[in-house]
Amino acid sequence: MSTTGDSAQHISGAAESGKECADWQALLERIPYARHLGLEVQRGDAGVLVHLPCREALIGNFMLPALHGGVLGALIELTARVAAQSQDAEIRCPRILDSHINYLRSAKARSTFARADIIRQGRRTSLVQVTCWQGDENKPIATGQVQLLLPTMAAQQEDRHGH
């Protein structure tokens, strides 16, 4: 994963990258729907990637065939969620507020990859840009921006008291 405007991220060592992969995988495995989709974390040239293996149940158009737009939506939202959570010092579980996804090319029935760029990590919110591709990373098939809310201590206590 890279952080926009933070050059320190680009010189992180291989050991650090390995730990980041393990951290992301652990966060993904806590999400039942991510496990169902079979999302797996990989180490790419420029940082951590999330891989979505293809299977027939993910098809949205069986004539092309092409992946369902909602499957790419899930890859983008879940990658953004894990990126925002791993970046948070307290590893708070974020709530997805909104997502806006642009479909750039047809998503073929094959392996899809996603990488996250944190546009802004604030105290209460995180805005994450996710890029998806198949085969050629320079030919993205979809990009998405996801806005997440990082719960404050006060909000967590309110939840506990059932307000």
Partner: protein
């Protein structure tokens, strides 16, 4: 331009309905088309535990709502256009208003807000079936008459120009 008759209208919607229910990802999530009435599409999804966002809460993952909105939105293009043609999602924006509880079915209500020769603008609401609480809203833009495969479902598809 000749106005298609009502028989063709109902055929186009029926074929799109049938096509929607055959989509593998929709079948996996258990999406059902409830109704298509005067351009308004209603779809339903019964949550299952593998759709959850957390181990400990029964909150449904937002991405499941996203898939439901995309499917209902696609069918709403045909419900609005009343003709069959290949379409593609250009973009989709979701706002998640409330967490979706896993113990209630989800309903998606989608309508075509505006149609041009090339583009369809769709709005979709995702509701709790029980109390009709609004859980999420979606706005999507679909491209009409995309290149590539022509629309066929059960051999009754129509070639688009």
């Amino acid at each position: 331009m000749a106005k298609p008759n009502t028989v063709q209208h109902s055929n186009a919607v029926a074929t799109a309905w049938q096509f929607t229910e055959q989509v593998p990802h929709g079948r996996e999530l258990g999406m059902q088309v409830v109704s298509v009435d005067q351009g308004q599409v209603c779809m339903r999804l019964t949550p299952q535990s593998w759709m959850f966002a957390h181990e400990d809460t029964k909150e449904i993952c937002t991405s499941v709502l996203y898939s439901l909105a995309d499917s209902a939105g696609g069918l709403a293009v045909f419900a609005g256009a009343l003709e069959l043609m290949p379409i593609a999602t250009l973009d989709l924006r979701m706002d998640y208003l409330r967490p979706a509880s896993g113990d209630q079915a989800l309903l998606a209500v989608a309508t075509c807000r505006h149609l041009t020769d090339e583009v369809a603008f769709i709005h979709c609401d995702i509701l709790n079936e029980g109390n009709r609480e609004l859980l999420a809203t979606a706005n999507a833009t679909f491209m009409r008459n995309t290149q590539g495969q022509q629309f066929h479902a059960g051999g009754r598809g129509k070639e688009s120009a």
